[in-house]
């Protein structure tokens, strides 16, 4: 999972329109996949650090909790219904949003497009 996230980090930091969309987004997001914690630290839209957990001391604004199978199905080029969106994962019981959801909603396009960057890898495979 760390490799996938590092690939997404490189893609984000090379995608001008996402950096523009995320220019006010300076937050840490926790991604929890099958219980494994990853802390994604964004600075003005740039993903500057990925830290593996577990950690009880790292503050984060919100968390996306899911499992690796769901995430890989989300990253398919044409995901099945429900796996096509992070709120879809929530709707079908394969994901959960925790924490400050309003901050997520205010930056929803940015965060959704960041999460979807994993689809580029699936397209290339």
């Amino acid at each position: 999972m760390l490799t996938e996230l590092q690939d997404m980090q490189a893609r984000l930091n090379a995608t001008p329109h996402l950096l523009r969309l995320g220019r006010l987004f300076t937050e840490t997001v926790q991604l929890r996949v099958d219980g494994d914690e990853y802390y994604l630290s964004f600075d003005q839209g740039r993903l500057v650090q990925i830290t593996e957990g577990p950690s009880r001391k790292t503050p984060y604004r919100f968390a996306l909790v899911t499992d690796a199978d769901a995430l890989h199905r989300f990253w398919e080029l044409r995901p099945e219904p429900g796996f096509h969106d992070i709120f879809g994962l929530v709707k079908i019981g394969r994901g959960r949003i925790e924490g400050d959801i309003l901050t997520l909603v205010k930056n929803l396009r940015f965060f959704k497009e960041f999460m979807a960057l994993g689809r580029w890898k699936e397209a290339a495979a």
Binding site: L77, R78, P79, P81, G82, H84, D85, I86, F87, G88, V90, K91, L102, V105, K106, L108, R109, K112
Partner: protein, 285 residues
């Protein structure tokens, strides 16, 4: 150069006791089909079907922007009002447009909240219509989000609304159409999407009215996309099952805004729905 066959005009109607200046578009000749847009959007959602020469050869498609939406201004004094759509105001507006345009028992095609009101009209005013095409429509949908997110002084409700509803667009939708569909939400006036959602997510009065719908008199056909998270196929199937004689089609590769997000994918389903309306009408004659 190509000039599209769609024409747009304005009509002023009275809803409640106040005038409403309403923008409407139309194309084609034949059986009138009144098309209703979704929450937070406008008539442009129907642009592809209104430009479809085969469909408009036998059907007159008419679509209008609800007050507060698109090119229909909000009523005078809106600056101090909280916009909250109600079933009653929505019904009154649709009937007022039908009267003003002198439409004779049009087919009513509505999507999302437009589909919900189509089913309300099927229950309450069936004599005014030739049939109902309820797209992404169900008896009731409680919100899986906080509708107040979309009207706040510290954030752009339109951009947040677009980001949310993108969850309802199919990955099969062409990118250009996906973003044209989302643009309408981005352009939506402050508080308008929230006011539409207030109607859509809080008024459950249709549930108790479904059994009044007489599909022997006026046909009801539901269409739902598999990628619709808001009105899922299960929601639409539950609704169709509660209306004796209603028919339903599930679109495997479409979402909540099929006529706008993926016009080619939606076209055969809409043509089939129109055919069902015509067949019923011919039988009744």
């Amino acid at each position: 150069m190509s000039i599209e066959p769609i024409t747009g005009r304005y009509v002023t109607v009275t809803v409640g006791d106040a005038p409403r200046r309403i923008y409407f578009e139309e194309a084609g000749q034949g059986t009138p089909v009144l098309c209703l847009h979704t929450a937070g959007a406008d008539t442009r959602q129907w642009r592809h079907l209104m430009n479809d020469a085969e469909i408009t050869a036998t059907h007159r498609l008419i679509a209008f922007d609800m007050p507060w939406h698109g090119k229909s201004l909000p009523p005078e004094g809106f600056e101090t009002q909280e916009y909250l759509l109600t079933t009653e105001a929505y019904i009154d507006t649709v009937l007022a447009v039908i009267d003003a345009l002198e439409l004779d028992r049009p087919v009513l095609a509505g999507c999302s909240m437009g589909g919900r009101i189509a089913l309300q009209l099927a229950a309450l005013h069936p004599d005014r219509f030739g049939g109902f095409i309820a797209i992404e429509a169900s008896d009731f949908q409680p919100a899986w989000y906080d509708i107040d997110w979309f009207h706040r002084p510290d954030a752009h409700g339109g951009e947040m609304g677009a980001a949310l509803v993108s969850a309802n667009i199919s990955p099969y939708a062409p990118e250009a159409e996906r973003w044209a569909t989302l643009w309408m939400f981005m352009q939506s006036g402050p508080g308008v999407f929230r006011g539409d959602l207030s109607f859509y997510t809080q008024d459950d009065s249709l549930i108790g009215r479904l059994d009044r719908i007489d599909t022997g008199r006026t046909p009801v056909h539901l269409i739902v996309g598999a990628y619709d998270l808001t009105c899922t196929p299960e929601d639409a199937q539950r609704t169709a099952a509660a209306i004796p004689g209603a028919t339903i089609a599930v679109m495997d590769e479409l979402g909540h805004f099929p006529m706008s997000e993926h016009p080619e994918g939606f076209r055969p389903f809409f043509a089939d729905a129109l055919e069902r309306m015509a067949t019923h009408s011919a039988r009744a004659d």
